[in-house]
Amino acid sequence: MEKFRANLMLCAGTGCVASGTMKVKDALQEELKKKGLADEIKIVLTGCNGYCAEGPVMSVYPDEVFYQKLTVEEIPKLVEEHFLKGRPYEKLMFREPEKKTAIPLMKEIPFFKHQVLRVLRNKGLIDPEKIEEYISRDGYQAAARALTAMTPEEIIKTVKDSGVRGRGGAGFPTGLKWEFASKVKSDVKYMLCNGDEGDPGAFMDRSVMEADPHSVIEGMIIGAKAIGAHNGYIYVRAEYPLAVKRLQMAIDQATEMGLLGKNILDTGFDFELGIYLGAGAFVCGEETALMRSIEGKRGMPRPRPPFPAVKGLWDKPSVLNNVETLAQIAPIILNGSDWYRSLGTEKSAGTKVFALTGAVNNVGLVEVPMGIPLRRIIYDIGGGIRKGRTFKAVQLGGPSGGCIPEHLLDTPVTYEDIVATGAIVGSGGMVVMDDNTCMVGTARFFLEFTADESCGKCTPCRVGTKILLDMLTDITEGNGKEGDIETLQDLAKDILTTSLCGLGQTAPNPVLTTIKYFRDEYESHIHDKWCKAGVCRNLTTFVIDEELCKGCGACLRACPSKAIIGEKKQPHKIIQEVCVHCRTCYEACKFKSIKIMPAGYDAGSPEKAEEVKTGAPEGGTAKGEA
């Protein structure tokens, strides 16, 4: 076998590929060859490293140096400096957003330092397209143990004792699910994997499937043995082409090596695994709808009971587990339930992967022990709010979840504590919003999604979400009426309690939580015709506080509709008739001299000018921009 002195782990996750990994790889290869280093230094394409915001990223081993934002132009210099002369190339190293110094070591970068990797244990460390690399990291050892040395009861007991709960959102104990299915007598059973990740802004499962597909397959083999299944499907959405490709490659390799199919590892156990491509309907993430979809029918949920453990796919006992859940099974079998419980809390054991996005500095994929406060994820790992703005809310659980405000940021991330806030842990989408966000608009955004994705089978969901959406649209367009808030709450409760499946039962959560924590915004939209964040165009008037304005001209240059006039070093003015309320000037002003006032606001008179300064028009309750 050839010998390399360094491994360059270049991220080939979807995010980094989009920002140019493949071109960087070609350039690296060529440059290494040119410098005569091609036989000494190996390039390994890995799955998603998690730090998508800084892509393409690359970790260099054994030096543990982390490079970001690689470009083809910089490669010759990088190769010469680091790989030939051994001097890490500072220009491409990680820099803390607020600081100027370069941090070379991966373990010193806050984004990585605070994470604990279990699900993502192989991310960036193995080439996901080579089964040998997975095996080298103890891959398939757990499956071997489960197939040879453990009874189904022992497997189920270990998984139950570990306390691992379904990571798809509902948090149902995985061991219990397996136990139900194992007790049902049937000659045919199915072991299924849910890779139909549909929440906007969530990409945990995609990353696991891309970076470590064998971990999912191994979890399924163990589950199949536990429940007595010999057939299985991984349901993935077709919009995840890279995940599908790597999963198929992994299944082919595993089958060829006798890790799937007939007589696995000569143990006499059979398990056939296939991929089923979903067309991307959100409702197909619901288990009964997903099973209908695999059967070739329209993806619609059906009432439970009977539960899938009794009557699932083709009416046979079936277990459906989420990608992230399955990826943790192998280490649980290898290390035991106590090891798993060493992180997390009593009721929420282990770690959870979150897709951290939105207004934070470090957008990416993070894995943390359950029970740590939201604040640590957002500030220590996420690096705080972008552009020095202030935090407003964090949206957890996607369209089924809710918005959690600042004063609840010390809430520990456990299934119970998050539900108590009105949100859900969900599959792990975590969207951070800053003070530029209109909460009514946010609720409207999620309702637009659920109303669109409602399958239409049950009336409360089909009609109810549409009415919620219409009312929210009215409010954001300035047509809100007295009593709207109460009607929204009332209707939301009806939808929650009477919908057939999880989609309808959770769809009103964004509305309910934003009313609960940001009721004043709804009120100012309805009563004052004022969107204090300046997002809803019909509900804003942008005016310049002439005392604060330095006349620098930044807003004037930025305005796309030439609505701003003024001489240099003289206070500027916005011509309201021309203004299109795009808030570009608000973003451009460095002196906070642009104020957001209610719709139809006339800043002409001197008294009004005084109001602009304090940001409080008559009758208004708020203090300037939210």
Binding site: M1, E2, R5, A6, M9, P62, K85, G86, I135, M257
Partner: protein, 127 residues
Amino acid sequence: MPRLKIEDLQKIKEQHRAEFTLREGGYRAKVTVHMGTCGIAAGARAVMTALMDEMAKAKSTDIIVTTSGCAGLCAKEPLATVELMNQPPVRYCDLNEEKMREIFREHVLGGAPVEKYALVVGSETTY
């Protein structure tokens, strides 16, 4: 690819151990070839190639090789430093391919520093 038996899993793991030592850490020995401009001019490139060749022949799994810049003693280049776990680093000077091979066999694999080529033991004091 042949069908695997359970014991094959361990074998595959062993075969790849060297590579994962690089990525996961936990190596026993580290050899640094100083490849500043002076080192390269004096022939560090050939020294490195010889070293990599010995590494491959030895099928070592717990040794890593790295490069660094000028060590400050340009007159005695090519230089290389050998560090064994829990032992002070030994710096060798005026190397060529043959000397490097010998050092690899005697010191890195055998554990006995090659005194005749050694320049110093230990490293400079840093504050």
